[in-house]
Amino acid sequence: MKKNPLLGRDVISMRDFGREEIKTVLARCDEFERNPRPVLKGKVLANLFFEPSTRTRLSFDAAMKRLGGQTIGFADSISTSISKGESLWDTIRVAEGYCDVIVIRHPAEGSARLAAEATSLPVINGGDGSNQHPTQTLLDLYTLQKRTGRIAGLTVAFVGDLKYGRTVHSLIRSLSLFGAKLWLVSPPSLRLPDDFKEDLAEAETSHVEVEDLSAVPADVDVLYVTRIQKERFADPVEYERVRADYQVTPATVQRFGGKLTLMHPLPRVNELHAALDSHPGAAWFDQARNGVVVRQTLLALVLGAA
């Protein structure tokens, strides 16, 4: 019997995953990718998306269908009972009668944890506000492992919005378990919140905060670029200035050498120059593709079918 660290568990936060569990899950993803099987025939996934999402929702949808299962759900809360004032707790209790596993995306932070309390079914967090997005983190780690052959001891520069980006928060925390050296590149207004820095201080990791990508050493293994959102700025002029300063172009990455891995959780606007798509290290479409395998594996693991 193979180890299944997720049997009957929820996937809510990377805080719940230790180093060994992450390694086991990634190994199971690799195994599943080599030998995909429709192990969830007859099972139903409820995709409860209380706010818009393209990749995460479609990716879970594709993952469940490739496993032989079916999906139900909604893509926003406007046309549901939530708009009539139904509590999240009640929505989850109702949905559990229709399905075997629940995926939730919700704008309120902590909503996925609450959903998991409301039901005995496994709940997977598809993003709760700017808090956690564990399946994105696992697909990022899986992509890193496939591209670089390891996830331990990497030097990773995160660029852009480190304050509100839940993708960054989850990934930084997980990389810190593997002794990563982190460069945090952002404007002062979008720095990593103190909470996460406190976590880093306790972990076996080092981090340096800078405002300019030129301060990052040329031998960095990974550039993880994030979108800077217009709505985070009160002043549109300031937004335009910051957006221009943090755009990554072929010229910007030239000095990092050929082994660089370039990542982005997507969607991108113009923080990544389109010409970078042909860069050998460009991994964003791989990340999206790997997301299906990772979600297939997670669904199969929480339902005890892998």
């Binding site: 805080r15 509590s87 707790w89 919700h106 932070e109 902590g110 944890r113 709760d128 103190d194 909470d195």
Partner: protein, 184 residues
């Protein structure tokens, strides 16, 4: 069992005090000592609660948390000398025994606080509360985007560190430091 104080009347510091008055630390002091002593002295309680070893300048916050209102007779000592803490605050509440939930709140505000329940001038119970590992329904998460801002959801915080106090919201994972704590 110690005694919270003798059934004698109180004089403010500097007044001529009768023997056997109670020092703010709770120990008996003699007349001569009292004369020399410039520390605040407060009355003995017939019944009620003495909160001792409150952190300096936390007494007024504690009173606000307890919401004692007009009905209670309360004596407050602020910035008293303390062998244990250097400086401390102290509260004596006449005629009111704090509930366990109230004691938990004050313990979160000031982890070193001790509580003596007094009946007929006798200390019948001395409580040195432990900060609980899980705090439910007492403190509001400060994150405006947290799901617990919905009044239908009861807040739950986990104790990360006791000294200085640091909590983490069980739901949104936001850390709360001592100066951010807001009681419900």
């Amino acid at each position: 069992m110690g005694r919270s104080g003798a059934p004698k009347q109180v004089r403010a510091s500097g007044d001529r005090a009768p023997a056997g008055n109670v020092h703010a630390e709770g120990a008996y002091v003699g007349v001569d000592e009292v004369k020399k002593d410039v520390k605040l002295q407060v009355s003995a309680l017939r019944s009620g609660t003495v909160i001792d070893h409150l952190g300096p300048r936390t007494a007024l916050k504690a009173l606000r948390i307890l919401g004692l209102g007009d009905e209670a007779t309360v004596l407050v000592g602020v910035n008293l000398d303390s062998k244990k803490l250097g400086r401390k605050d102290l509260i004596k509440i006449e005629g009111r025994e704090l509930t366990p939930a109230e004691i938990d709140k004050i313990a979160l505000l000031s982890p070193q606080a001790t509580f003596s329940i007094i009946r007929d001038f006798e200390v019948v119970k001395k409580i040195r509360p432990e900060i609980p590992s899980v705090v439910e329904g007492l403190i509001r998460c400060v994150n405006p985007s947290c799901i617990t801002q919905d009044p239908r959801v009861k807040g739950r915080l986990l104790t990360v560190r006791k000294e200085p106090l640091q909590l983490r919201c069980y739901y949104c994972e936001r850390s709360l430091h001592e100066d951010e704590i807001e009681f419900l």
